[in-house]
Amino acid sequence: MSLLDSIRSRLGAPREPIPDDIEGALVRAVATRLGVEPDQVDPTLALADLGVDSTGAMDLTSQLEDRLGVQLTPTFFYRHPTLREAARALREMTGGDR
């Protein structure tokens, strides 16, 4: 695919509605990634301490962007290391008070 076409398809990808419980959605995404139950994922721990490496954090960042239609920087989880902090930042970004 040409560069122009890949940009077009990335820009045109459908977005899901922003979930009410962003923290819960993040916890579930990480649980799926790690192959554990959601209640085993502590949202107050840093991603690295949960066992998600920086490549995993990048994947998660891209996944969030695609699904929520927000624009994040690659260092999003470096700036907001725990899922709770990340959820708060995302809530502010998407303008919701959820």
Binding site: S2, L3, S54, T55, E65, T75, F76
Partner: protein
């Protein structure tokens, strides 16, 4: 244990060939180039013609088709013979940061367009990630690609402190895509011709003065809509890491050549001196400085060869490359300073010896390709099991 860290006979031939080239072609003009602080196009042409830039490029694109060890052996000789960190920097940018990523992830069309002219030195490449607002936080790039009204791709933004930017013909540029966030961060292959690229520089540097850095300002600069991205859209992070890892590995490697030269020159020149009726080298405090230089050389060579071996055998070498770059820059600085002090007032003179220049150049190695702190962060991340990309 089965350990042999020496070069093979074929690699030794590369080393000797570029040691001689360094002595004959590079070393004589080093002082003048340092003083004028300008890129020497004639020297670059000679380096291109020597075949150094194409050692790892496949023969179908005009190179030698060899591996990283042959290039490293050649660069060790080139550094030792030439004693000029500037031209070494220019070569490392071209080969480690541009040709290597192209070899690893370039498409056939990209390789066909760029490899022949880069491997022969006909075109000078730059690697542009740093921006004026800060280089350590490299993934916060603000340079942005957007789709224009006629479906053209247009790049805007500023890159800064980029080696050879004032003269480069092409660059790999880290940037984002308008409308996409982290998932759009990419490496763009950019032809630097045309009025939509403004250049600033050469910047007046402390060291590595003949490979001056400068700025590139893009204002709606066209990027090839077909072949303008290296790897995939969104591969900015892994490709930046790939290039930095190669740079760290190969920059550490040239340190071995420089350290060997510092030791040899210091020994040769000091043996002529006497004080209090005895040769200087008979004094233990003086001997101690030689021991320090030798210690740096041996430690650094061992660590670097291990990192090279890991790279050659396709194992992960990030940790070793960062360690070797971090300790190598410091070792080179300390060893060159020992050499300055060993030779007293003569060692302090620029016109007599290259040691004070190497001290300054070594500081450049402590910043370029990731500052000491950033190297330590990378090393910690490796120890901590992060960055497993």
């Amino acid at each position: 244990m089965n350990v042999d860290i020496d070069w093979t006979p074929e690699q030794r031939v590369y080393r000797e060939r570029f040691l001689a080239f360094g002595r004959e072609v590079v070393q004589p003009g080093g002082l003048t180039r340092d003083q004028t602080g300008a890129f020497d196009a004639d020297l670059w042409r000679a380096v291109g013609e020597s075949g150094l830039l194409g050692i790892t490029t496949p023969t179908e694109f005009g190179g030698d088709g060899k591996g990283v060890l042959e290039f490293a052996a050649a660069m060790e000789g080139f550094a030792e013979g030439g004693l000029d960190a500037s031209i070494v920097f220019s070569v490392l940018v071209q080969v480690a940061m541009v040709i290597e990523p192209l070899l690893q992830v370039g498409t056939p069309a990209q390789k066909a367009r760029w490899l022949p002219v880069l491997a022969s030195g006909q075109r000078k490449a730059a690697f542009a990630v740093t921006e004026p607002h800060g280089g350590s936080d490299v993934f916060e790039a603000r340079t942005t690609l957007r789709i224009g009204n006629d479906d053209e791709l247009l790049l805007s933004g500023s890159k800064w402190s980029v080696t050879d930017a004032p003269y480069a013909d092409m660059a790999i540029v880290l940037g984002r895509v308008e409308g996409l966030g982290a998932s759009g961060l990419s490496m763009f292959l950019v032809d630097l011709a045309g009025p939509t690229v403004e250049r600033e520089g050469p910047f007046d540097l402390m060291g590595c003065r003949a490979a001056p850095t400068g700025a590139l300002r893009f204002t709606n600069h066209p990027v090839d809509p077909e072949h303008g991205v290296l790897g995939k859209l969104g591969d900015g992070v892994p490709l930046t890491r790939l290039a930095f890892n190669m740079e760290r590995l190969l920059a550490a490697n040239v340190g071995v050549g420089f350290l060997q030269a510092v030791l040899d020159h210091a020994v040769t020149n000091l043996s002529r001196n006497e004080s209090f009726g005895r040769p200087l080298q008979s004094y233990q405090y003086v001997q101690g400085r030689f021991v320090e230089i030798r210690k740096h050389l041996e430690f650094h060579r061992l660590l670097t060869r291990r990192a090279l071996w890991l790279a050659h055998t396709k194992q992960r070498f990030n940790l070793e490359a960062s360690l070797a770059k971090l300790s190598g820059a410091q070792a080179l600085h300390d060893a060159a300073l020992h050499a300055v002090l060993l030779l007293g007032n003569r060692g302090y003179r620029r016109d007599l010896f290259p040691f004070e220049r190497l001290c300054r150049d070594a500081v450049g190695l402590m910043i370029a390709g990731g500052s000491e702190e950033v190297q330590k962060m990378a090393i910690w991340a490796e120890l901590h099991g992060e960055n497993r990309s």
